[in-house]
Amino acid sequence: MNKFKSLLVGAVVAGLGATSAMAQEKIRIAFIDPLSGPFASTGNQGLSIYRHAVDELVNKRGVLLNGAAEFEIVPFDNKISAKESLIQLQVAIDQGIRFIAQGASSGVANALTDAIKKHNKRNPDSQVIFLNHSAVDPALTNDKCNFWHFRFDANADIKMDALTDDIAGNEDIKKVYIIGQDYSFGKAVAAAAVRFLGEKRPDIEIVGNELHPIGKVKDFTPYARKVIASEADAVITGNWGGDMVGLGKAVMGAGFTKPIYTYYGATSGITANFGDQGDGIVKLAGAGQVNPPLSADAEAFTTSYYEKFPELDLGQPQMANVAPMLAVAINEVGNADDVKAIAYALEGMEYDGILTGKTVMRESDHQAIQTVTVQGQTSEGLTFDYDNSGHGMIAETIVELASADAPTTCKMKRP
């Protein structure tokens, strides 16, 4: 560890030396996500992970074009509106930014991927790449896929695949209750759950499959009563934000002591809210892992993240891959201007993700294939807790290169 630290310090010092020695080119990445309003905590968390990854894995190491260039993250606030995002996209392009990162909300991602496709077709001189770090609607890498879009997160189907593997392996689970928010993502989660459970464990009975109005339910108690009354052995939900907290607290408060499988049941105050009650109950399927750290490198990276952002959480490990993978692609091309060549370099790239293990940007649909984990909430054996609450998520089932052979309907048209 000490040796590693001194090595790192050495690298940093060398990097700083290189910085002062050369005139640096700034390669900018536009980060378009909600930075104000009700979903700001999601956007700010993502921004912090980007900044940390850029500092620690690219700039300090001086790896971008052999230290001749540095990444700079330029935040744009889209207030989680698709319309606002398109305006910000135009602003970013006008400022000469060629790399667009976005992730909160698949609705926004759908709008951006269409706009970018059109823009690149009409403006071959100022083409841009869309780096999608967390919008998980499967359509983005299936029917709606395009050459300029790269998804770094595991999509909803991949996560559900890992999650249902976990359920299928648990003989105690005979009845499952599916509940989600009434919009495209909630429906996609429910459909995937029904499909995978039907394939893997046809004997499992789906005792509830319902959607509730998104962000409108003040008190989830009546829903919780239905879950209890259905005698379900597990709950699956794609809820996030306030809907996740409300549902989780109500279901556990009504006396449910069996697993609740979630996509977003941690960080941003959720873990702290669940507290002791959530230990051993709340599960989360996601890309990569924070606990236990994958390597000494990963531990150092996470430690310095928490030193820099003690109030935030490294809740989306795959986001740390985006800038470093882009750096590899730019290095391969030798400049940051030939965007098409960079996109080709990203395609099929194999990369050793600091928190996600071996990661491949699948050529056929631009979907990152990486380690997907099913994590469980606990307060024991944690290296890093969430929300400074003493509770956190620890990887229980680890699937390397998850869903590498999952089919895609994508027919990629390459320029």
Binding site: E210, R225, E311
Partner: protein
Amino acid sequence: MALFLVNILDGLVTGLLLFMLCSGLTLIFSMMGVLNFAHASFYMLGAYFAYQISTITGFWMGLLVAPIIVGVFGAAIERYGLRRVHKYGHVPELIFTFGLALLIEEVIQFFWGKSQMAYSEPEALNFAAFAIAGNSFPAYKVFMIFVAMGLFLTLLYILTKTRIGMTIQAALSYPETVQNLGHNVPLVFMGVFGVGTAMAGLAGVIAGPVLGTFPGMAVQLGSIVFVTIVIGGLGSLWGALVASLIIGWLQTFAAAYNVAMEDILTAVGFTKPENIWDHPLQDLWTLTLPQIGPILPYLLMVFVLVLRPQGLMGKRET
């Protein structure tokens, strides 16, 4: 049947909580003739203050202190804000409270951030009081019922049986006369505003651990509070109670039973179209009761306004 009983109790909790918010608002409205848009924001302030206090001294101190802070703050708002705006008429007052609501939300985000706060029930009440057919009923909710009932009875007693209550009631209807009799009417107004906001604060203190403490909690309850006092009749305490309970049960039962439009339509004699996903009436066919639950209170308000414009128990025409 067991589930029905559980839902009755859940609806009671929701309704009583709503009542704690509405009682203050309805009094303030009948007094000043202006809707306090910031009322739900005082509820949010109560939850945040109580959370902050609870991190230092535990839940119970927060329960006592937070409503008082909110009440004092509310009284100060009336004395130094609303009273000055009052002379320019109702519209500036309305805009003032609206601006205040936005301001409070921003200030809260500034100090506490945008995440959910880890504000939870006290350890002493963190157990299941009883269970009906496997559905446990948390002791904390029993506590909520008692606090709300206690508040209602106290309020009813003060307003109808004490001298202060008489003065308030008189000041509501005939402020000039009461002033001429030697009572300090502006002080009465300030007091009512302070107590009204303190009750909203108290509602926030006890609702925060259950419904979540986050910057959107005021907006989430804001509109339903107005609906409730309109249904109950502006200025009527009993009306606020009855309307709150009706809405509490309405929302609970709507979410609890999966009555599908499909079943109703087929029962009436229609046949479900083959390819429902391409059908123009797809939305109608796939509708379920939990989905329309959130709009039921508004629907009820429209009916009440049409049939009985003064509200269920309102005394005067507005």
